[in-house]
Assembly symmetry: C2
Homo-oligomer: 124 residues x 2
């Protein structure tokens, strides 16, 4: 198991537990967060912990999948807040100790299938 | 380098080249495709090759990142079609030979940042 994978698992477990000290412990001092779809960036551990700590709602997160190699990882999570369900996909980069130095995340939304491919697909 | 990673790279290179024979060669016979956000599923290599071959538009794909471990991989790609730009994120599972047995993909769209976190974020 890579150290980064273990830290990514701790990252989500700490977020779910609102254990912001443990959460901060998974991050490098100069961690950088980017959300390409909203073009937002957060720089540094303190701001990034606050960004998560202040995230509104009674949200709960469950890890669906983590794929990791040395220095790189991706998680797919399911976030629920009451009846709202969201999918989050996060790309991580780690330093030599496996601390998270970069997080880039995506929050895809449901959409209707484009017309013209019903002959190849089924719905579920 | 894992065999699955190499196959994921071939998968995208073959799609970009419209080389559907090479594309099919990256897939297991019983490959299953799912798009959770549109709840579409495609079963089997023949249907999944057609699903990609018949995809409309003059699209071009560039791989931004691949993260892989034994049997699991994720790609982040940038797909352009004229002025349209899309991000695609695909989770892959491989068989013992590294052939792709499962693809699950997500197509996140741009969104406006929620209010109330401007004190922590910058825009880019």
């Amino acid at each position: 198991m890579t150290r980064l994978r273990r830290n990514v698992e701790k990252f989500w477990a700490a977020a779910e537990a609102r254990d912001w000290e443990a959460f901060a412990g998974t991050l490098a001092d100069d961690v950088a967060y980017e959300a390409p779809m909203s073009r937002e960036r957060v720089r540094g551990r303190e701001a990034y912990v606050r960004f998560n700590r202040e995230f509104p709602g009674d949200w709960h997160v469950r890890v669906e999948r983590v794929v990791a190699e040395a220095g790189e990882a991706v998680s797919w999570v399911r976030v629920t807040d009451g009846d709202d369900v969201h999918v989050g996909i996060s790309f991580f980069r780690g330093d030599g100790e496996g601390r998270i130095v970069a997080v880039t995340d995506f929050w895809p939304e449901p959409y209707e299938p484009p017309a013209g491919r019903e002959h190849l697909t089924e719905r579920y």
